[in-house]
């Protein structure tokens, strides 16, 4: 087990360098001069321009820039944004907000998937199953930004049940509505996975054995049907966790949440190399770690899987 974890972490090293290099290259290859762009219409003093170029290593060749940047990263210096803020500070401020939003969305998604999937699977072909499929298809086919606008307008503004924008007030309650909307647009996959494995487990031989022992369905359903069906759903949910952290740009934009997604979006527009590279690198690391955790979770959920 330990060997496996070590091996997976070692594998993450080339992933780390590969992504950062790729991102750095893409930022470098973007057209336009970010320093010139900072001055807008004004003509800058060439000496100031030169000083700024030097500060951001923009006068060096690409590959040197990359290694200078990596050196800074490993000494704990993530660089500064163009407005002079430390990128590390920006990350520390925005990351917890996004994490909160994503955790809430993932928990809601998981609960929806498991509960609706379990009932649908047990009542296959009945009213609940059919209507949950129709609802799921409707929710799944609405693009997430449309759903977010609709929720913002009707629930936030018309009904006033939840704050229509989040702003600086990043509490759990304030972010519940956007989290729920995200959950509703992505729970379908997990729900169908759960339903499918419940249907399979329901007819499994070991379920019949459990019933033949004299167990009632109050015990057979949670212990032998639901427990076995959770494995694919948990994997799916955990995998969506990584994707969600990276994919909250739209949600954070619409609900004005000061999180990673919105900051990253602005940095891309401004061409802030250090901010973009740092954020994407952190997201990559999180994605890799979440995936390792998912694989380890497999072994916990299914005793047949052992890593050596």
């Amino acid at each position: 087990m330990l060997m496996y974890v070590v091996r997976r972490l070692l594998q993450a090293i080339p992933v780390f360098f590969g992504t950062t290099f790729l991102i750095y290259f893409m930022v470098f290859a973007m057209p336009g001069d970010p320093i010139l762009a900072l001055f807008g219409e004004k003509t800058p003093n060439p000496a100031v321009l030169e000083a700024l170029r030097e500060q951001y290593h923009l006068d060096q060749p690409f590959i040197v820039q990359y290694f200078l940047y990596m050196k800074d990263v490993f000494t704990g210096n993530f660089g500064t944004t163009f407005s002079g803020q430390d990128v590390g500070d920006v990350l520390a401020r925005t990351f917890p907000v996004t994490l909160k939003l994503v955790i809430m969305a993932v928990v809601l998604e998981f609960l929806l998937a498991v509960i609706i999937g379990l009932i649908s699977g047990l009542r296959q072909g009945k009213f609940f199953d059919n209507s949950s499929l129709v609802i799921a298809l409707v929710l799944n086919s609405v693009p997430v930004f449309v759903a977010l606008f609709l929720a913002q307008y009707f629930i936030g503004i018309k009904l006033g049940w939840a704050p229509p924008t989040v702003g600086a007030n990043t509490t759990w309650a304030a972010m519940f509505l956007p989290a729920l909307v995200i959950a509703l647009t992505i729970y379908v996959t997990g729900m169908r996975l759960m339903r499918g494995s419940v249907i399979e487990a329901r007819d499994a031989d070991y379920v019949r054995t459990a019933q033949a022992k004299g167990l009632t369905s109050r015990r057979v359903v949670p212990v032998h049907i639901a427990r076995n069906s959770l494995i694919p759903v948990i994997t799916n949910t955990a995998a969506s966790f990584g994707a969600l952290i990276a994919g909250t740009t739209v949600t954070e934009g619409i609900f004005n949440i000061p999180g990673v997604g919105r900051t990253l979006y602005q940095a891309i527009i401004l061409g802030e190399g250090p901010t973009v590279v740092t954020f994407v690198t952190i997201l990559t690391v999180i994605y890799v770690i979440v995936n390792i955790l998912v694989d380890l979770l497999y072994a916990v959920l299914d005793p047949r899987i052992r890593y050596v």
Partner: protein
């Protein structure tokens, strides 16, 4: 072997279970299917009853109807099931829960799929004990679970309860299932093919255990089986089922030695036993006749000559000093070698059959894979028809493959469900670029004829065929490239006894007609008796004994072979015909 208590002592009491005019119906898209059509029988306390029949006869459906755990859309559509005088057909699931486990225990058929893979073995046994209130309190339940597992023959139960099903062998899992079935001291234990997935020696141990346990606890036993020998040996009363009806019922020995119903007679005639002799080809018996009359193996076998011709023929396969060593990972970077096949040598003369016999894990299938060129040997040499198979290049091996073809055990898994029968049979021809489309089609028709299937089947799909028909297709596919050697890996083990007899007959005819050489891999010694010219017995990777079939069966020298022979169910019972 058990000696059931005499009938008179039992009949004094009321029946424990009484089935009256039971009908079971499955609702399908094509209309209702009546799986059980009005059967009646009684089981008395302490009695052992066996229901015998082929797949589809309704025997397993009857068993699950007694505990109302019918699969899918099945339901009891008429009749009564009285358990201790109480009709259970109208009971709710909750009421049934109090009968299941406590009054009627159930040991299911397939030990591989009947334990929940995510819970420990001990947990699953404790569940059964707790549900029926046999013991209460953590300690008592724990102690009781270890006790039942020990009774079921799991020696080191204390250590084993924390392990998971995948860490157990099939035989051990079956013991766990028996432990679960007996966990709450039921008055009746239903055992549905409790040993058909197991090796004969393990089978014998498990059945002995079941018999002594039910005797100790004064429990009745209902055995569901396709194996007449096993039923006769273990049960005092036999119920023969065919197409949802009871065709014959009565004391076991009486039925076996003097069957009244034509179906029972066919079943007994087709059952291979130690008393049978080698099948000869039946050129004068056509397959239409064979299907109508049932293939009478005993009669065909009577025309058995002797084995004198064997020695003269040139060898089709020569295997010398064949060894296969796998390395098994032991965690971390260490691994240890496992010798699956250990220095075996044999030859098969052209046109004859060698049976490679052994239990699971004896290395017989690994040997077959190497001979088929699917697995490279670690050392040793294989020669097929004078050409060496070992140490040749990939492309040479590809060409050699057409000379030895396999037929595998499971006719359901070995045919691609997405392709038509014609495409399946023609595939080896395509792969080896034999002929064009038209000539391949002609060959498919010819092959279907050889295996006695109508040529119209070429456009059908595997799911439309019965198990026996599928296995004929698998044989036709193996013959497509006109191989010299056919490796039959448990090729008849999954088939019902009547179908099995037909396939064995087909194989014998084809051997005669085409001069084929068979390597027949099996764990079933009774089948060996009727198909093989010579036998090689494998144990733990080594060949421990070889000889002609008669030599081995009449005069086995090695203790292991003797044990295998003794373990064949019904070995000592003379069958009538």
């Amino acid at each position: 072997m058990t000696n059931p208590p005499s009938a008179s002592t039992r009949r004094a009491s009321e029946p424990l279970v009484s089935v009256r005019d039971l009908e079971v119906t499955f609702r399908t898209q094509g209309g209702d299917i009546h799986a059980v059509r009005g059967i009646s029988f009684d089981i008395f306390p302490g009695e052992t009853v066996a229901i015998v029949g082929e797949s589809g006869s309704g025997k397993s459906t009857t068993a699950t109807a007694l505990i109302k755990l019918l699969p899918g859309s099945g339901r009891i559509s008429a009749g009564q099931v009285l358990v201790e005088g109480r009709d259970i057909t109208g009971l709710s699931d909750r009421q049934m829960a109090s009968i299941r486990g406590g009054v009627i225990g159930y040991v299911p058929q397939d030990p591989m799929s009947n334990l929940n893979p995510v819970w420990s073995v001990g947990y699953q046994v404790r569940e059964a004990i707790r549900a029926n209130g046999v013991a209460s309190g953590r300690k008592d339940i724990e102690a009781r679970s270890i006790e039942v597992l020990k009774q079921a023959g799991l020696g080191d139960a204390e250590r084993r309860t924390k392990q998971y099903p995948h860490q157990f062998s099939g035989g051990m899992r079956q013991r766990v299932l028996i432990g679960i079935g007996l966990g709450a001291d039921p008055k009746l234990l239903i055992a549905d093919e409790p040993t058909s997935a197991l090796d004969v020696t393990v089978q014998k141990t498990i059945l002995d255990h079941l018999a002594s346990l039910t005797r100790e606890k004064q429990a009745a036993l209902l055995l569901i089986t396709h194996d007449l020998g096993l039923a006769a040996e273990r049960a005092s009363k036999l119920i023969v089922m065919n197409q949802g009806r009871i065709v014959e019922a009565g004391p076991s020995l009486e039925i076996l030695q003097n069957p009244q119903h034509p179906y029972t007679k066919r079943l007994i005639a087709a059952a291979p036993s130690l008393a049978s002799r080698r099948i000869q080809s039946s050129t004068e018996v056509t397959f239409a006749d064979a299907d109508a009359l049932g293939v009478d193996i005993a009669k065909l076998a009577a025309r058995h000559d002797d084995d004198s011709a064997i020695a003269d023929a040139e060898p089709a396969i020569t295997v010398s000093d064949l060894t296969k060593v796998y390395s098994i990972r032991r965690g971390g970077f260490s691994s240890e070698p496992l010798t699956a096949v250990d220095n075996i040598s044999f030859t098969i003369p052209r046109g004859t059959t060698l049976a490679l016999v052994g239990e699971s894990g004896s290395g017989k299938s690994t040997a077959a894979k190497m001979i088929l060129g699917l697995e490279p040997p670690t050392s040793g040499e294989i020669t097929v028809g004078g050409t060496r198979l070992t140490g040749v290049s990939r492309s040479q091996l590809f060409n050699l493959r057409s000379r030895m073809q396999p037929v595998f055990q499971d006719p359901y898994a070995s045919l691609d469900p997405q392709r038509s029968i014609g495409a399946i049979i023609a595939e080896p021809l395509k792969v080896h670029k034999v002929g064009d489309n038209a000539s391949r089609d002609a060959r498919v028709v010819e092959l279907l004829e050889q295996v006695a299937l109508p040529s119209a089947l070429a456009h059908r799909y595997p799911n439309e065929l019965s198990g026996g028909q599928r296995q004929r297709v698998a044989v036709a596919r193996a013959l497509a490239l006109k191989p010299e050697v056919v490796v039959l890996d448990e090729a008849v083990s999954a088939l019902d006894v009547l179908v099995q007899a037909q396939i064995l007959q087909l194989l014998a005819d084809l051997q005669q007609e085409l001069g084929l050489t068979y390597l027949f891999i099996t764990h079933d010694l009774a089948v060996v008796r009727i198909v093989a010219d010579s036998v090689a017995v494998m144990e733990a990777g080594k060949i421990v004994e070889t000889g002609t079939t008669d030599e081995i069966f009449d005069n086995a020298q090695v203790a292991y072979t003797q044990r295998l022979l003794e373990a064949i169910p019904g070995a000592g019972i003379p069958l009538g015909a």
